[in-house]
């Protein structure tokens, strides 16, 4: 079994990739995928520490997050599809209706 440090490192790397993806990419679809990546990075940490501490609470929490993530993806993808139909684009820079 890997050490907590290793797991933390992996988690940090995954989270950073996700965060960078959200901040850098302009494609809404990719941004969604990156957000998923960040969630999963957090899940890994939760599971690792649950194992480490010998309780199941962390694992249960991870399961909950996965559920939310699924819901989020469903809603998010639906929005993206609707957005594409309406505006014919998935580029986040084109969507600036809230500009002041």
């Amino acid at each position: 079994m890997p050490s907590p440090n290793a797991v933390l490192l992996l988690s940090f790397v995954l989270f950073s990739i996700g965060a960078a993806g959200v901040l850098v990419r302009r494609n809404v679809l990719v941004m969604l995928m990156s957000a998923e990546l960040m969630l999963n990075a957090a899940n890994i940490v939760l599971i690792a520490f649950a194992r480490h501490s010998g309780t199941v609470a962390g694992q249960a929490f991870a399961l909950l997050v996965m559920g939310f993530a699924a819901a989020e993806v469903a809603v998010g993808l639906a929005l993206v599809v609707a957005l594409y139909r309406k505006r014919d684009t998935v580029n986040a820079d084109d969507l600036d209706l809230l500009k002041g």
Binding site: V22, R26, A92, L95, L98, K99, G100
Partner: protein, 783 residues
């Protein structure tokens, strides 16, 4: 119910016998009207017989009235079989309404009105007259209204007639004044409907309205009299009032309505109010104007309503309430003077009319005046007796004139008639006899009734050999006598113009007497609409051709072409001449029912004796108590000579010279006199100018007042509020709202700076979040 009431009720109620059939008699015509009316409205057919046809309508209408007549006849026979003091039958149906206690003279009375009928000598005679004459006139109508049987509104006529008989029976058979008022208004309504039967003719509709409204003016008096009587007696039941009247009149003074006065004062007041009601219904001065116009209705209506029955209801009311009038000397004098004036004035108008029905209408007004003279002289049986004889001969005359009019193709102008004697012998004989009766020639019925009235009036002046009655009564008597002379003149003139000479309607008119007639060119039933009407026509003719009032102008004649009728007048069918003949027969012999005491060799005063229990005896009856004065015989002879003289004058003027040169000469000599009489002294015009016009003007002014002042204040308030609102709005927009907008403007300017931060791009926001997170992390790690 007060105890007095109850006591009186037991006193008189005991003498009255319940007889339920009586109610049936009164209600049968209503039933007939209901059946015919609903049938006509819902299942009417244009022509044909059978269930919805003429036969059915006739069966219902005649059957119901005939049956009512038979029932009343049975009641009459029953009454004859009873002792004189107990001759009373009654049928109480239900309590109509009950208003509770009211303060009246002598305490408290319950204002309870019963729906009840009673049959006593007076109402039995009137009931027989109404239903009997009603039946005959229904019969006559089956012939006279033949055109209407074709155009589908015959049922309507018969419904109205039945409704009229119902109302009239309520009036005469009702056991209290409320029932009388029900009938009183009911006959007014039926009269309105029947006068306006040819409603397409504007003048017929107007005449109907005039009749109703004039009657309403009378009703005003009736209602006030009614209320006064209730206040005096605490009841309006005839028997109860009669039972109480002795006690009421014996009181030293009566306080009602916050005013104390002697019983005589109150009786006078009530009597005058009631007489106003009688003036309206019985067409006396000043309310007589509706009756001549009412001739716009079909002739049977004129006979039934405006000669035989309805117009006598005022007389019936006074006879019924004789116990009031006997103790109201002033009111009686008013009745007398109005009656005698009406008798004279209306008779004089009758001498200058050319419309055969108009002549009879004025004659009716005048004869009603005679009846009121009898009432005013407190000789109620004489007045009522004239009601009956007049009903016979005037109904005969009207129906006869109806036959004549029909025979002459709905021509009503006597100038276009003439020579009908040969063509219509039965009608001629009947009308001739009726004329002798109305002229008061011995021994026809009119003599007995009219002479009795004149004698009673004369007796007020001349009494027991002393001329102490005041010249007032002599004057009234003179009016009556002159009126009687006029009567004989115009009736003879009518007969001569109609039945003697040659028929002028077919174009044979050597003397140029005919006038253009509107009746001829629109065949009856086809075009009621376009006839402007005889009424107006004659007024205008009189105004236009006043100087040759006998109508020598025949310029319109040729254009109308009288010849197109093809056949001359002929006798009418049996169902028309039979009623006329029966009525004429009654007019001949009717007088023998009440032979005055002075002529007792011929018979007795059956009618007066029969009525006697209903008359209030203020003092011992003097009839028969003293010897007959010679002057009474002298006056009888004089009356006959006087009437015969007037007849001879008419004969001389219109028969002896067929070109009527003498009347023409008279008119030429006194053109203005003729014009005034022909135009009925311009009374209608006077009313129009003095009452109706101002009333309409006032109404228009009030309407303007309502629009401009009353509503103007409301709208003015609205306008002022609006102005105020505008000012407020300006203030609001510029001052109050200005402050608000200022605040908003400041805020807006401030926000312009910060708004650039809002890029609307998701990445910018995420980046800021990320920076924030980094900053937070750095701060946390460093701390």
């Amino acid at each position: 119910m007060t105890p007095e009431h109850a006591a009186a009720q037991t006193l008189i109620g005991a003498a009255s016998t319940p007889w339920g059939l009586l109610a049936l008699a009164a209600l049968l015509p209503a039933f007939g009207a209901l059946v015919n009316g609903l049938n006509g409205l819902l299942f009417r057919r244009r022509t044909g017989t059978g269930f919805t046809g003429t036969t059915f309508v006739n069966a219902v209408a005649l059957g119901s009235v005939g049956l009512a007549f038979l029932i009343i006849l049975a009641g009459f026979v029953k009454l004859l079989g009873m002792p004189a003091e107990a001759r009373s039958l009654h049928a109480d149906l239900w309590t109509w309404f009950d208003l509770g206690g009211a303060r009246v003279n002598g305490g408290l009375a319950t204002m309870t009105m019963k729906w009840g009928y009673k049959l006593d000598p007076l109402s039995a005679c009137m009931g027989l007259l109404v239903s009997g004459a009603g039946f005959l006139i229904h019969l006559f109508s089956t012939g006279y209204m033949a055109d209407e049987q074709k155009d589908g509104r015959y049922w309507r006529f018969m419904t109205y007639l039945n409704l009229f008989v119902f109302s009239m029976l309520n009036l005469v058979l009702g056991s209290n004044m409320m029932m009388m008022f029900l009938g009183w208004e009911g006959v007014g309504l039926c009269s309105y409907l029947l006068i306006g039967f040819y409603f397409e003719k504007e003048f017929a509709a107007v005449a109907g309205k005039k009749a109703f409204v004039t009657n309403r003016i009378g009703d005003f008096g009736f209602v006030l009299g009614f209320a006064l009587l209730f206040m005096l007696f605490g009841s309006v039941d005839f028997d109860t009032m009669m039972g109480l009247v002795r006690g009421v009149s014996a009181a030293p003074s009566i306080t009602i309505l916050g005013h104390t006065a002697s019983p005589t004062f109150w009786f006078n007041l009530a009597g005058c109010c009631l007489f106003l009601g009688a003036c309206g219904k019985s067409a006396q001065i000043p309310l007589y104007v509706w009756l001549p116009d009412a001739m716009a209705g079909p002739t049977p209506v004129s006979a039934l309503i405006h000669a035989a029955t309805m117009v006598t209801s005022g007389l019936y009311m006074i006879a019924r309430l004789n116990f009031i009038f006997v103790q109201a000397p002033l009111a009686s004098d008013v009745v007398l003077v109005v009656g005698s004036l009406t008798a004279l004035v209306a008779a004089s108008m009758g001498t200058a009319q050319y419309d055969i029905k108009k002549v009879l209408a004025y004659s009716t007004v005048s004869q009603l005046g005679f009846m009121f003279m009898g009432m005013g002289a407190m000789s109620y049986t004489a007045g009522m007796f004239h009601v009956f004889t007049h009903a016979f001969f005037k109904a005969a005359l009207f129906l006869g004139s109806g036959s004549v009019i029909m025979a002459c193709h709905h021509e009503q102008d006597m100038r276009n008639m003439g020579g009908l004697r040969k063509a219509m012998p039965i009608t001629f004989a009947s009308m001739g006899l009726a004329t002798l009766a109305i002229n008061g020639i011995f021994p026809f019925s009119g003599f007995f009734s009219k002479d009795e009235i004149l004698w009673k009036v004369f007796e007020r002046w001349y009494h027991h050999g002393a001329y102490d009655g005041g010249a007032f009564y002599l004057m009234c008597w003179l009016f009556g006598v002159i009126g009687a002379g006029f009567t004989a003149f115009y009736m003879t003139r009518l007969i001569v113009m109609t039945f003697f000479g040659d028929y002028r309607g077919a174009g044979d008119d050597p003397h140029g007497l005919t006038v253009p007639s509107e009746a001829h060119h629109d065949d009856h039933g086809a075009g009621h609409g376009d006839g402007h009407g005889d009424d107006h026509g004659h007024v205008h003719a009189a105004a236009d051709h006043g100087h040759d009032g006998l109508g020598q102008d025949d310029h319109g004649r040729d254009s109308h072409g009288h010849g197109d009728h093809g056949h001359g007048p002929a006798e009418v069918p049996w169902n028309m001449w039979l009623p006329v003949a029966i009525l004429a027969g009654l007019a001949v012999v009717g007088g023998f029912l009440n032979i005055p005491h002075s002529l007792h060799v011929l018979g007795g005063e059956h009618f007066s004796r029969f009525m006697e229990p209903l008359l209030y005896q203020a003092a011992a009856p003097h009839g028969g108590a003293h010897a007959v004065p010679a002057i009474e015989y002298a006056l009888m002879v004089f009356a006959n000579v006087w009437a015969l003289g007037a007849m001879a004058l008419a004969w001389w003027m219109y028969k002896v010279d067929p070109s009527w040169s003498r009347p023409k000469a008279f008119v030429a000599r006194f053109p203005n006199l003729f014009r005034w009489v022909n135009a009925k002294y311009y009374v209608d015009e006077f009313y129009e100018a003095a009452l109706i016009g101002p009333c309409k003007q006032l109404s228009a002014q009030l309407w303007a007042f309502d629009t401009w002042v009353v509503d103007g204040m409301v709208n003015g308030a609205a306008r002022a509020t609006l102005l105020w609102a505008e000012a407020s709005a300006w203030f609001d927009a510029h001052v109050v709202d200005g402050l608000v907008n200022l605040v908003a403007w400041v805020l807006q300017q401030a926000s312009l700076a910060s708004k650039t931060l809002q890029s609307g791009r998701v990445h910018n926001y995420a980046f800021v979040m990320f920076l924030g997170f980094v900053a937070f992390a750095v701060w946390k790690l460093l701390a």
